[in-house]
Protein backbone atom coordinates (compact mmCIF):
# COMPACT_ATOMS: atom_id res chain seq x y z
CA UNK A 1 0.00 0.00 0.00
CA UNK A 2 2.91 2.24 0.80
CA UNK A 3 4.21 2.40 -2.76
CA UNK A 4 0.76 3.20 -4.00
CA UNK A 5 0.21 6.09 -1.67
CA UNK A 6 3.71 7.35 -2.27
CA UNK A 7 3.14 7.33 -6.00
CA UNK A 8 -0.09 9.24 -5.64
CA UNK A 9 1.45 11.77 -3.29
CA UNK A 10 4.20 12.43 -5.80
CA UNK A 11 1.75 12.80 -8.66
CA UNK A 12 -0.44 15.09 -6.61
CA UNK A 13 2.60 17.11 -5.65
CA UNK A 14 3.61 17.50 -9.27
CA UNK A 15 0.16 18.50 -10.38
CA UNK A 16 -0.08 20.99 -7.56
CA UNK A 17 3.30 22.38 -8.50
CA UNK A 18 2.31 22.57 -12.12
CA UNK A 19 -0.96 24.37 -11.54
CA UNK A 20 0.49 27.64 -10.18
CA UNK A 21 2.94 27.66 -13.06
CA UNK A 22 0.08 27.40 -15.52
CA UNK A 23 -1.98 29.95 -13.72
CA UNK A 24 0.95 32.29 -13.53
CA UNK A 25 1.58 31.81 -17.20
CA UNK A 26 -2.02 32.38 -18.08
CA UNK A 27 -1.90 36.16 -17.94
CA UNK A 28 0.64 35.64 -20.66
CA UNK A 29 -1.94 33.96 -22.81
CA UNK A 30 -4.22 36.93 -22.42
CA UNK A 31 -1.47 39.25 -23.47
CA UNK A 32 -1.26 37.30 -26.66
CA UNK A 33 -4.39 39.28 -27.35
CA UNK A 34 -5.91 36.29 -28.97
CA UNK A 35 -9.19 34.99 -27.66
CA UNK A 36 -8.41 31.70 -29.37
CA UNK A 37 -5.90 31.03 -26.58
CA UNK A 38 -8.81 31.24 -24.17
CA UNK A 39 -10.67 28.67 -26.26
CA UNK A 40 -7.80 26.23 -26.09
CA UNK A 41 -7.38 26.75 -22.37
CA UNK A 42 -10.98 25.80 -21.71
CA UNK A 43 -10.86 22.93 -24.11
CA UNK A 44 -7.65 21.59 -22.59
CA UNK A 45 -9.05 21.78 -19.07
CA UNK A 46 -12.29 20.10 -20.11
CA UNK A 47 -10.67 17.34 -22.10
CA UNK A 48 -8.07 16.69 -19.46
CA UNK A 49 -10.73 16.17 -16.84
CA UNK A 50 -13.04 13.96 -18.85
CA UNK A 51 -11.18 10.63 -19.07
CA UNK A 52 -10.83 10.66 -15.31
CA UNK A 53 -14.48 11.56 -14.86
CA UNK A 54 -15.63 8.86 -17.26
CA UNK A 55 -13.33 6.29 -15.75
CA UNK A 56 -14.38 7.34 -12.27
CA UNK A 57 -18.10 7.17 -13.00
CA UNK A 58 -18.06 3.90 -14.95
CA UNK A 59 -15.49 2.30 -12.68
CA UNK A 60 -17.35 3.54 -9.63
CA UNK A 61 -20.65 2.12 -10.88
CA UNK A 62 -19.08 -1.26 -11.52
CA UNK A 63 -17.23 -1.22 -8.21
CA UNK A 64 -20.43 -0.25 -6.38
CA UNK A 65 -22.29 -3.18 -7.89
CA UNK A 66 -19.52 -5.57 -6.99
CA UNK A 67 -19.20 -4.29 -3.45
CA UNK A 68 -22.95 -4.33 -2.90
CA UNK A 69 -23.14 -7.93 -4.02
CA UNK A 70 -20.23 -9.14 -1.91
CA UNK A 71 -19.39 -6.62 0.77
CA UNK A 72 -16.54 -8.64 2.18
CA UNK A 73 -15.21 -10.28 -0.88
CA UNK A 74 -12.03 -9.21 -2.50
CA UNK A 75 -12.64 -8.66 -6.17
Amino acid sequence: MLQKSLLWIIILGFVLLAIPITVEACPACKELDEPIAEGFNWSVLFMMAMPFTVFGVVGGTVFYHFKRANPNKDV
Binding site: L2, Q3, L6, L7, I10, F14, L17, I21, A25, P27, A28, E31, L32, E34, I36
Partner: protein, 221 residues
Amino acid sequence: MDIWLPENVSTFGQGVDNLFILIYWITLIAFILVTATLIAFLILYRHRPGHKATYIEGSTKLEITWTTATTVIVFGLALLSYPQWNRIKSPTELPPADVVVEVSAKQFNWDMTYPGPDGEFDTEDDLQLENQLHVPVDKIVHIRLTSVDVIHSFFVPNLRLKQDTLPNRFITVWFEATKPGRFEIPCAELCGFQHSGMLGYLTVHSQADYDAWKAERWPPQ
Protein backbone atom coordinates in the same frame (compact mmCIF):
# COMPACT_ATOMS: atom_id res chain seq x y z
CA MET B 1 28.09 16.68 -28.70
CA ASP B 2 29.75 19.71 -30.13
CA ILE B 3 30.67 17.66 -33.14
CA TRP B 4 27.03 16.80 -33.75
CA LEU B 5 25.29 20.02 -32.86
CA PRO B 6 25.67 22.63 -35.56
CA GLU B 7 27.42 25.81 -34.56
CA ASN B 8 25.36 27.97 -32.25
CA VAL B 9 25.05 31.62 -33.25
CA SER B 10 22.26 32.90 -31.03
CA THR B 11 22.29 34.36 -27.56
CA PHE B 12 19.84 31.87 -26.12
CA GLY B 13 21.28 28.93 -28.03
CA GLN B 14 23.93 28.30 -25.41
CA GLY B 15 21.21 27.82 -22.80
CA VAL B 16 19.55 25.19 -24.96
CA ASP B 17 22.87 23.49 -25.60
CA ASN B 18 23.76 23.49 -21.92
CA LEU B 19 20.49 21.83 -21.03
CA PHE B 20 21.03 19.34 -23.81
CA ILE B 21 24.49 18.51 -22.53
CA LEU B 22 23.24 18.26 -18.96
CA ILE B 23 20.52 15.82 -19.98
CA TYR B 24 23.07 14.02 -22.11
CA TRP B 25 25.26 13.37 -19.09
CA ILE B 26 22.36 12.43 -16.85
CA THR B 27 20.93 9.99 -19.37
CA LEU B 28 24.36 8.65 -20.25
CA ILE B 29 25.13 7.90 -16.61
CA ALA B 30 21.68 6.41 -16.08
CA PHE B 31 22.10 4.30 -19.19
CA ILE B 32 25.55 3.07 -18.18
CA LEU B 33 24.40 2.26 -14.66
CA VAL B 34 21.32 0.38 -15.81
CA THR B 35 23.09 -1.47 -18.60
CA ALA B 36 26.07 -2.35 -16.46
CA THR B 37 23.74 -3.67 -13.77
CA LEU B 38 21.78 -5.59 -16.35
CA ILE B 39 24.87 -7.20 -17.84
CA ALA B 40 26.33 -7.90 -14.41
CA PHE B 41 23.10 -9.60 -13.35
CA LEU B 42 22.96 -11.60 -16.55
CA ILE B 43 26.46 -12.91 -15.92
CA LEU B 44 26.28 -13.34 -12.16
CA TYR B 45 22.90 -14.98 -12.05
CA ARG B 46 23.00 -17.10 -15.17
CA HIS B 47 21.68 -20.57 -14.75
CA ARG B 48 24.26 -23.05 -13.54
CA PRO B 49 23.77 -26.58 -12.24
CA GLY B 50 23.04 -26.50 -8.52
CA HIS B 51 22.34 -22.80 -8.54
CA LYS B 52 18.88 -21.87 -7.37
CA ALA B 53 17.08 -18.59 -7.62
CA THR B 54 16.30 -16.68 -4.44
CA TYR B 55 12.67 -15.97 -3.73
CA ILE B 56 12.40 -12.17 -3.59
CA GLU B 57 9.02 -10.57 -3.96
CA GLY B 58 10.13 -6.98 -3.87
CA SER B 59 11.35 -4.31 -1.56
CA THR B 60 9.31 -1.34 -0.50
CA LYS B 61 12.39 0.47 0.69
CA LEU B 62 14.06 0.18 -2.70
CA GLU B 63 10.88 1.18 -4.52
CA ILE B 64 10.68 4.32 -2.44
CA THR B 65 14.36 5.06 -2.98
CA TRP B 66 14.30 4.93 -6.75
CA THR B 67 10.92 6.60 -7.03
CA THR B 68 12.17 9.53 -4.99
CA ALA B 69 15.50 9.68 -6.80
CA THR B 70 13.88 9.80 -10.25
CA THR B 71 11.32 12.31 -9.11
CA VAL B 72 14.00 14.63 -7.76
CA ILE B 73 16.07 14.38 -10.93
CA VAL B 74 13.25 14.96 -13.39
CA PHE B 75 11.76 17.72 -11.35
CA GLY B 76 15.15 19.37 -11.05
CA LEU B 77 15.45 19.20 -14.82
CA ALA B 78 12.00 20.69 -15.25
CA LEU B 79 12.88 23.55 -12.90
CA LEU B 80 16.08 24.24 -14.81
CA SER B 81 14.28 24.50 -18.09
CA TYR B 82 11.47 26.89 -17.08
CA PRO B 83 13.61 30.06 -17.38
CA GLN B 84 15.14 28.97 -20.69
CA TRP B 85 11.76 28.16 -22.16
CA ASN B 86 10.22 31.40 -21.04
CA ARG B 87 13.18 33.36 -22.28
CA ILE B 88 12.85 31.95 -25.76
CA LYS B 89 9.12 31.61 -26.19
CA SER B 90 7.21 33.59 -23.60
CA PRO B 91 5.52 36.61 -25.15
CA THR B 92 5.82 38.48 -21.85
CA GLU B 93 9.58 38.24 -21.84
CA LEU B 94 10.00 39.40 -25.41
CA PRO B 95 12.92 41.83 -25.53
CA PRO B 96 12.31 45.05 -27.46
CA ALA B 97 13.00 44.75 -31.14
CA ASP B 98 15.69 46.43 -33.21
CA VAL B 99 14.54 44.86 -36.43
CA VAL B 100 11.13 43.42 -37.25
CA VAL B 101 10.56 41.11 -40.18
CA GLU B 102 7.36 39.43 -41.23
CA VAL B 103 7.90 35.91 -42.47
CA SER B 104 5.03 34.35 -44.30
CA ALA B 105 5.33 30.71 -45.26
CA LYS B 106 3.64 29.35 -48.32
CA GLN B 107 3.97 26.17 -50.32
CA PHE B 108 6.99 26.02 -50.73
CA ASN B 109 8.75 29.27 -49.98
CA TRP B 110 9.47 31.70 -47.22
CA ASP B 111 8.24 35.20 -48.01
CA MET B 112 10.15 37.76 -46.02
CA THR B 113 8.61 41.22 -45.68
CA TYR B 114 10.60 44.15 -44.34
CA PRO B 115 8.61 47.19 -43.23
CA GLY B 116 10.75 49.49 -45.34
CA PRO B 117 12.01 52.92 -44.34
CA ASP B 118 8.77 53.97 -42.65
CA GLY B 119 8.92 51.07 -40.25
CA GLU B 120 5.30 50.06 -40.92
CA PHE B 121 3.97 46.93 -42.55
CA ASP B 122 1.37 46.93 -45.28
CA THR B 123 2.61 50.16 -46.77
CA GLU B 124 3.93 50.79 -50.24
CA ASP B 125 7.57 50.86 -49.29
CA ASP B 126 7.57 47.34 -47.90
CA LEU B 127 10.43 45.23 -49.15
CA GLN B 128 9.51 41.72 -50.23
CA LEU B 129 12.15 39.02 -50.51
CA GLU B 130 11.80 35.38 -51.28
CA ASN B 131 13.72 32.94 -49.12
CA GLN B 132 16.25 35.58 -48.10
CA LEU B 133 16.39 36.90 -44.57
CA HIS B 134 18.99 39.53 -43.80
CA VAL B 135 19.60 40.70 -40.25
CA PRO B 136 22.32 42.61 -38.43
CA VAL B 137 24.52 40.89 -35.89
CA ASP B 138 24.08 41.52 -32.16
CA LYS B 139 20.67 43.07 -32.64
CA ILE B 140 17.37 41.75 -31.40
CA VAL B 141 15.29 40.61 -34.34
CA HIS B 142 11.58 39.94 -34.11
CA ILE B 143 10.10 37.59 -36.64
CA ARG B 144 6.35 37.76 -37.11
CA LEU B 145 5.54 34.32 -38.39
CA THR B 146 2.48 33.47 -40.38
CA SER B 147 1.42 31.26 -43.22
CA VAL B 148 -0.86 31.56 -46.17
CA ASP B 149 -1.82 27.94 -46.62
CA VAL B 150 -0.84 25.10 -44.29
CA ILE B 151 1.29 24.73 -41.20
CA HIS B 152 5.01 25.15 -41.81
CA SER B 153 7.78 25.35 -39.30
CA PHE B 154 10.40 28.05 -39.19
CA PHE B 155 13.58 26.25 -38.21
CA VAL B 156 17.04 27.75 -37.99
CA PRO B 157 19.28 25.01 -36.60
CA ASN B 158 22.13 27.39 -35.88
CA LEU B 159 19.89 29.66 -33.85
CA ARG B 160 18.29 26.76 -31.95
CA LEU B 161 15.00 28.27 -32.98
CA LYS B 162 11.93 26.50 -34.21
CA GLN B 163 8.37 27.69 -34.41
CA ASP B 164 5.44 26.43 -36.43
CA THR B 165 3.72 29.00 -38.58
CA LEU B 166 -0.06 29.00 -38.57
CA PRO B 167 -2.32 30.23 -41.34
CA ASN B 168 -4.11 33.45 -40.46
CA ARG B 169 -2.31 33.88 -37.18
CA PHE B 170 0.81 35.76 -36.19
CA ILE B 171 3.34 34.33 -33.79
CA THR B 172 6.30 36.49 -32.85
CA VAL B 173 9.63 34.87 -32.13
CA TRP B 174 12.89 36.62 -31.49
CA PHE B 175 16.60 35.97 -31.72
CA GLU B 176 19.86 37.78 -31.47
CA ALA B 177 22.58 36.44 -33.73
CA THR B 178 26.10 36.60 -32.36
CA LYS B 179 28.09 35.99 -35.48
CA PRO B 180 27.88 37.03 -39.11
CA GLY B 181 27.38 34.29 -41.65
CA ARG B 182 24.89 32.52 -43.88
CA PHE B 183 22.62 29.92 -42.36
CA GLU B 184 19.87 27.73 -43.70
CA ILE B 185 16.18 27.99 -42.82
CA PRO B 186 14.55 24.67 -43.61
CA CYS B 187 10.86 23.99 -43.09
CA ALA B 188 10.52 21.46 -40.30
CA GLU B 189 6.84 20.62 -40.54
CA LEU B 190 5.48 18.48 -43.34
CA CYS B 191 3.80 20.92 -45.69
CA GLY B 192 3.21 19.08 -48.94
CA PHE B 193 4.97 17.29 -51.73
CA GLN B 194 7.88 19.69 -51.91
CA HIS B 195 8.33 19.99 -48.19
CA SER B 196 11.78 18.59 -48.74
CA GLY B 197 13.65 21.43 -50.35
CA MET B 198 11.60 24.25 -48.89
CA LEU B 199 14.58 26.26 -47.87
CA GLY B 200 15.43 29.83 -47.06
CA TYR B 201 18.64 31.52 -46.08
CA LEU B 202 19.42 33.68 -43.12
CA THR B 203 22.27 36.07 -43.69
CA VAL B 204 23.67 37.72 -40.61
CA HIS B 205 25.59 40.87 -41.49
CA SER B 206 27.85 43.02 -39.46
CA GLN B 207 26.15 46.35 -38.73
CA ALA B 208 28.08 48.13 -41.49
CA ASP B 209 27.27 45.46 -44.06
CA TYR B 210 23.66 45.47 -43.02
CA ASP B 211 23.40 49.23 -43.46
CA ALA B 212 24.97 48.92 -46.87
CA TRP B 213 22.58 46.15 -47.81
CA LYS B 214 19.67 48.22 -46.59
CA ALA B 215 20.77 51.28 -48.50
CA GLU B 216 21.03 49.25 -51.65
CA ARG B 217 17.77 47.33 -51.39
CA TRP B 218 15.26 49.38 -49.52
CA PRO B 219 13.24 51.55 -51.80
CA PRO B 220 13.91 55.27 -51.35
CA GLN B 221 11.44 57.16 -49.24
